[in-house]
């Protein structure tokens, strides 16, 4: 068995070392040639993206994706992703853009590029009435659920002490389920997300404890795609100017866009 295993290992290692692959050249040209744009959207993150009774994604991010496809004059293909895998989706070329309430941070900026902001997002820590915390320092001894790889995850991992247990779930489904089933006492997520959950009358109510960060959402795309970047930023600017973005905000967030976006 030793010999057999060694051969397997050797084969696999050899196969992986010899691997180096080119990525595509001009993403915008590709999209136009294809006539389809593939956009990663969330389906577990209301109100940015969640499923209706027909399991089709709906929400702020989906409307934004539709807007972009429409302006580019191409067909839209929605690809549901999770927080954890949306960047690999982009890196591996499975999608052209990520519109998935994506926040900006230095780690991410090292591997992908960001457009201008297209949606406001304040993340914070939420929990039921029975838990009294008002700041990061109060979190000691509590168990906090976050979605792995989200801005909240990266941010809080830096800020909290060792006495706080952070449970990281694969996707927002897991994070929200763990909170609603009482597996974690607190969750960190977006204020609008918590609001959307509250609206559905959950068994445990996620009330705002404190805000962590103002972290607006950006559209993510692969590095070094200036044409695509320019086109996307132009569409966002136009949408801000002509009120299209305002309308999306009113529909999903039920509030106007903040002036500084």
């Amino acid at each position: 068995m030793h010999r057999r295993s060694f051969i397997t290992l050797a084969t696999l290692v050899a196969a992986t070392i010899g691997l180096a692959v080119p990525a595509q050249a001009d993403a915008l040209a590709d999209i136009e040639a294809r006539g389809t744009i593939k956009i990663a959207v969330p389906q577990d993150f209301p109100p940015f993206g969640s499923v209706g009774t027909d399991l089709q994604p709906v929400g702020y991010d989906i409307d934004m994706a539709e807007l972009i496809a429409e302006k580019l004059g191409v067909e839209l293909e929605l690809v549901p992703v999770t927080s954890a895998n949306r960047i690999p989706y982009l890196q591996t070329g499975m999608v052209d853009l990520v519109i998935s309430s994506l926040g900006k941070n230095p780690e991410r900026e090292a591997v992908i590029d960001f457009s201008d902001a297209y949606a406001p997002f304040f993340n914070g820590v939420f929990g039921p009435d029975t838990v009294t915390v008002a700041a990061i320092e109060d979190l000691g001894g509590y168990t906090l659920g976050v979605t792995r790889g989200s801005v909240e995850d990266l941010e809080l991992t830096e800020l909290v002490g060792d006495d706080v247990t952070i449970q990281r779930y694969e996707d927002n489904n897991g994070t929200i389920s763990s909170f609603l089933s009482g597996q974690v006492e607190l969750i960190a997520t977006g204020n609008v997300v918590a609001a959307a959950i509250l609206e559905r009358n959950p068994p445990i109510r996620p009330e705002l404890k404190f805000l962590v960060k103002n972290s607006p959402c950006y559209i993510g795309m692969n590095k070094d795609e200036p044409e695509l970047m320019a086109a996307v930023n132009a569409i966002i600017a136009d949408a801000k100017a002509d009120g299209a973005l305002e309308a999306i905000s009113m529909e999903w967030l039920e509030q106007p866009l903040p002036a500084d976006l």
Binding site: G52, T53, N85, S181
Partner: protein, 219 residues
């Protein structure tokens, strides 16, 4: 806001079950074809070919299906292929299924007594002819129950594809849970649907096995 009735929940789960069934069929048929090739390689007289098949089986049986799915998903894309979730899922499941079916079938071929090989060789048959006319017809009979039994593992294996974003029964279950806040009901229903898919296969396998055993003892 959106309200789900029990019927909405069940309807969505059943609709998603279609994809579970389709993916199971694709994986099983594809895995069967690849598995047959691997099995022939595994029993080949050529040492290098047999070793390659053994390494293949060792690799796919010795690592988690979940990791294989991730690797197929992200690895294929790195090779320059843009793969949708269903394709990566199908490919990984086919390769995984093949490794198990190849071993199951090899066991069946090797269960045929040596005398059968020798008898057919003494009649002047070549190795392929021995397999084709003497060994495989006998092996096929004993291979059916474990093969049907393994199909249950394939159906259950498709649940993992939800993690790479393929929307089948399990993924629909998590999505619906999140929209309804009723994990007990939803996962209970999901489990029942899987049971309804798998149990008939398990039973068939058990019944076939019993029949085969009885037939064996009567010889």
């Amino acid at each position: 806001m959106i309200e789900f009735t029990l019927w909405d929940i069940l309807r969505n789960l059943l609709l998603a079950t279609r994809w579970t069934i389709l993916l199971s069929l694709v994986s099983f048929v594809g895995g069967g074809i690849v598995g047959l090739v691997v099995m022939f390689m595994r029993i080949s007289a050529n040492k290098a070919v047999a070793t390659a098949a053994r390494a293949y089986i060792e690799l796919f049986q010795g690592t988690p299906l979940l990791m294989q799915l991730f690797l197929a998903f992200f690895g294929l894309a790195l090779l320059g292929m843009t793969v949708p979730a269903w394709l990566a899922a199908g490919l990984a499941l086919i390769l995984w299924t093949a490794s198990f079916l190849a071993e199951i079938w090899r066991g069946c071929v090797e269960a045929i007594a040596k005398g059968q090989w020798e008898a057919s060789a003494s009649l002047g048959m070549g190795r392929i002819q021995q397999l084709r006319y003497v060994i495989l017809p006998q092996a096929l009979r004993i291979a059916i129950p474990p093969t049907v039994g393994f199909s249950v593992q394939v159906v259950k294996g498709t649940a993992l594809t939800s993690i790479i974003g393929f929307v089948e029964l399990t993924k629909a279950g998590t999505a619906v849970t999140n929209a309804t806040f009723q994990p007990f009901t939803v996962y209970g229903l999901v489990a029942l649907i899987y049971f309804a898919l798998c149990w008939p296969l398990s039973r068939t396998s058990q019944v076939l096995e019993r029949k085969l055993n009885v037939a064996h003892h009567n010889h």
